[in-house]
């Protein structure tokens, strides 16, 4: 098969599926994996796709994203966290997402599922979660914070106290070296505290780069969480520290290429 022909097929496949795995493409085209990886390399130079571990995703500069543009690396890391978080959500769970980038991505991921009840104070997350149309999505009311499209304040808190959820996914704005959590506003702190109280299991979603940063309002020690989902790049001393505090640590290892 000629190179041009292969490229055409890969492009078509990517446009339909928006991601492609090396193993799968090599099966379809009946060429070696090395050939596929080289084609991916060329197509990346052309700006058509972005290579990932074991495959590639479609690079669409016009893609409409509700969340703020972040760099590729952080985006990939957040996506790993989302995959792990989604695997922890069981069918028919009632979950709560507090505001933040990762939760917005998680909401989008969960829109592929059905039968969930999703509570959130983040407007983007609410929109993302309801995209599939198969879940119940409840958006807590309140005053909109302009900078991050989430609602907060006394109305939100009062609304939230009516619900009891199985699991809440929390995002914070900073984690100090000795693993104390902090957030950037009073409203956010109140909301998280209230969410923690009305939930069976609290899970913190945090990019490993967040550790060492500090936001201005202290929230509490990491032990207020039942589990933490972060990236495998997290330094060993933090892994050990979190383990010793008896908080479940998911490092979102995602090394397996494609599916079985």
């Amino acid at each position: 098969m000629f190179a041009a022909e292969r490229k055409r097929i890969i492009k078509k496949y990517l446009l339909e599926n928006s991601k492609a795995e090396v193993v799968k493409i090599s099966d379809i085209l009946d060429v070696s994996e090395v050939t596929v990886r080289r084609d991916f390399e060329k197509l990346e130079h052309e700006g058509f796709l972005i290579r990932t571990h074991g495959g590639a995703i479609l690079h669409d500069p016009h893609e409409k994203t509700y969340y703020a543009e972040q760099d590729m690396e952080a985006d990939e890391n957040n996506q790993e966290i989302v995959e792990t978080a989604a695997a922890l959500v069981k069918d028919e769970d009632i979950i709560m997402l507090t505001g933040g980038h990762i939760n917005q991505l998680l909401a989008r991921k969960l829109s592929e599922r059905q039968g969930l009840t999703i509570l959130t104070n983040d407007l983007v997350a609410a929109l993302n979660a309801s995209a599939g149309g198969m879940n119940r999505v409840i958006c807590l009311g309140g005053e909109i914070e302009q900078d991050n499209f989430s609602v907060s304040g006394s109305i939100t808190l009062r609304n939230m106290q009516k619900y009891h959820v199985n699991r809440v996914f929390v995002e914070v704005d900073g984690i100090s070296e000795n693993l104390d959590l902090s957030v950037s506003s009073q409203q956010k702190s109140e909301l998280i505290e209230s969410a923690v109280q009305s939930s069976d299991h609290v899970t913190l979603l945090c990019n490993y780069e967040l550790i060492g940063k500090r936001a201005f309002l202290s929230l509490g020690p990491i032990t207020m969480m039942n589990s933490v989902i972060t990236n495998p790049q997290l330094a060993d001393e933090y892994k050990i520290a979190i383990y010793n505090k008896n908080v479940i640590l998911y490092t979102s290892i995602n090394a397996f290429e494609g599916n079985v």
């Binding site: 080289r38 571990h53 074991g54 695997a87 790049q233 397996f256 494609g258």
Partner: protein, 499 residues
């Protein structure tokens, strides 16, 4: 009973690679006692005995033997001082006869100058010895033809003639049948009359209450209690062993299973160790198999991976009956094994990290029979990042990596192979906590992506923490099956030690 102390350990410490394996061990061995030592696998029983027998020296603390401090023993010195250690996995000469194995060092230690090997005399003496001890074995038969239990009997006979003052038995009855055990206990009672004191490591409750005088229980390198066996019942012993140390939480992801059977093993037999093993493995589950030392966990893994051919039984993978004559067959069928002895069976010392990682996967990097080094390095880099391997330079020799990172390199090797079933044999033994967490999370990654995991482990906490279902292997059979929600440490332990 005279309470005379033959051997005393005072604040003995020993660490390997900065991790404490024994800390502040205090122990007294009294004249005339059979002192039983119990504890979970890896609690440091054998290590302690090896220190007494001169295999290792202590980091700090004292060993006092008959009033003398003997901290710097060698194996040879310990023997001549009268300390005989019967190793757990017996070091034997398989190509020599039973009599030769028993007597090869007997005369040299006794007669300093006249060392003549008299085969006939040996065999005759050995025959007498066997009839005195009631061992029904042939002295001239090659040792390689004897099974594990028979070898233990031979070595008990060797202990009998050794005239040692202290004899240490390290799980002598593991793998013995009832008849052999009766013979062994006869020998043991004869030995007890001849020698001053005995250390006895065992897991079997019934036998320790029968033969033991004192009982010490070890947990994570410490002696947590020493008591008189007559004052304690079996229930209390189990409680002491399973202990109440801090429970850590495991990062478990449970996948909703549709109970689709992936692997079906029926009636697998192998040697004296596996008698009749049957179980099923479902898609996307982590199946834990646990059992005592010598219960055949590793043998089971080896049989499934084609390292050993089972003597009977049927393995059905994805509805097809399989015969693995070689690990290569198993790999082709979609099975990977991460072996227990990482240094011997896992890593290739002469190769660097990328070589170790890609070895079974080189076919993936072929382009018209030529290896594409460029692409290979890119993929290796991806895996290094995804598994957090440190140091990250693929050119580094494998020996530059810590145990935990070596284990992660092995994980990367088999992840790259993209198998259906991952058999992990003691994947977290001897690695640091951070790597342990990564190994558990890697297991999650496998099941999320659709693969299945068989976790062979002696760490009961880990088994309960990570597995959807738990099988208990005992006496060569799958003794019972527990779901994660029903499993407790005490339950598993009492099922495993009970025959």
């Amino acid at each position: 009973m005279s309470e005379q102390t033959v051997l005393e350990l005072q604040d003995v410490n020993k660490s390997f690679n900065g991790e404490f394996n024994l800390s502040n061990v205090n122990l007294k061995l009294n004249t005339g006692d059979i002192h039983v030592i119990m504890g979970e696998n890896g609690s440091g029983k054998s290590l302690l005995m090896k220190i007494v027998a001169g295999y290792f020296t202590v980091d700090s603390g004292n060993i006092i033997y008959k009033g003398n401090v003997i901290n710097h023993l060698t194996i040879h010195k310990a023997l001549s001082e009268g300390i005989y250690y019967q190793h757990q996995d017996l070091p034997v000469f398989e190509n020599l006869s039973a009599a030769e194995n028993i007597y090869f060092d007997y005369r040299t230690r006794r007669k300093k100058h006249l060392r003549i090997w008299n085969e006939l005399e040996n065999v005759a003496e050995c025959k007498n010895l066997f009839s005195e001890l009631g061992i029904n074995l042939e002295p001239t038969k090659k040792l390689g033809l004897y099974g594990f239990a028979e070898r233990q009997l031979l070595f008990a006979a060797k202990a009998f003639i050794s005239d040692a003052k202290i004899i240490i038995f390290d799980e002598p009855t593991a793998g013995m049948s009832e008849v052999e055990r009766i013979t062994f206990f006869n020998i043991l009672s004869l030995i007890k009359k001849k020698t001053e004191a005995i250390f006895y490591i065992s897991h079997r409750l019934d036998e320790i209450t029968k033969v033991g005088d004192k009982l010490s229980i070890m947990e994570q390198g410490r002696i947590i209690s020493t008591s008189d066996i007559r004052n304690i019942n079996e229930k209390e012993i189990i409680k002491l062993i399973t202990g109440k140390h801090e429970i850590h939480q495991y990062p478990k992801i449970s996948i909703k299973q549709n109970r689709e059977c992936l692997l079906d093993v029926k009636g697998m037999r192998s040697g004296h160790i596996l008698k009749d093993v049957s179980f099923k493995l479902y898609k996307q589950e982590i199946l834990g198999i646990t059992g005592l030392m010598g219960s055949g966990r590793s043998r089971l893994g080896n049989c499934l991976f084609g390292i050993r051919q089972p003597e009977g039984g049927i393995i059905t993978l994805n509805g097809k009956i399989c015969h693995f004559m070689h690990p290569f067959d198993a790999m082709l069928a979609g099975i990977s094994l991460i072996p227990e002895e990482r240094h011997i069976n896992g890593i290739f010392n002469p190769l660097n990290m990328s070589g170790n990682m890609t070895l079974p996967n080189l076919k993936r990097f072929l382009n018209n029979s030529i290896l594409d080094e460029n692409i290979l390095q890119q993929v290796v880099k991806d895996y290094v990042k995804k598994l957090g391997i440190i140091p990250a330079d693929p050119e580094n020799g494998i020996h530059y990596f810590s145990g935990g990172n070596q284990q992660k390199i092995l994980l990367a090797r088999w992840f790259m192979k993209r198998s259906l079933i991952y058999i992990m044999d003691e994947p977290t033994r001897g690695i640091d906590i951070a790597s342990k967490i990564d190994v558990y999370n890697a297991m999650n990654n496998l099941v999320v992506k659709g693969a299945s995991v068989i976790l062979l482990s002696s760490d009961i906490d880990e088994i309960i923490g990570m597995c959807d279902r738990i099988l208990i292997l005992s006496d060569g059979k799958i003794k019972s099956e527990l779901l994660q929600k029903d499993a407790t440490k005490e339950k598993i332990y009492s099922l495993a030690i009970d025959d």
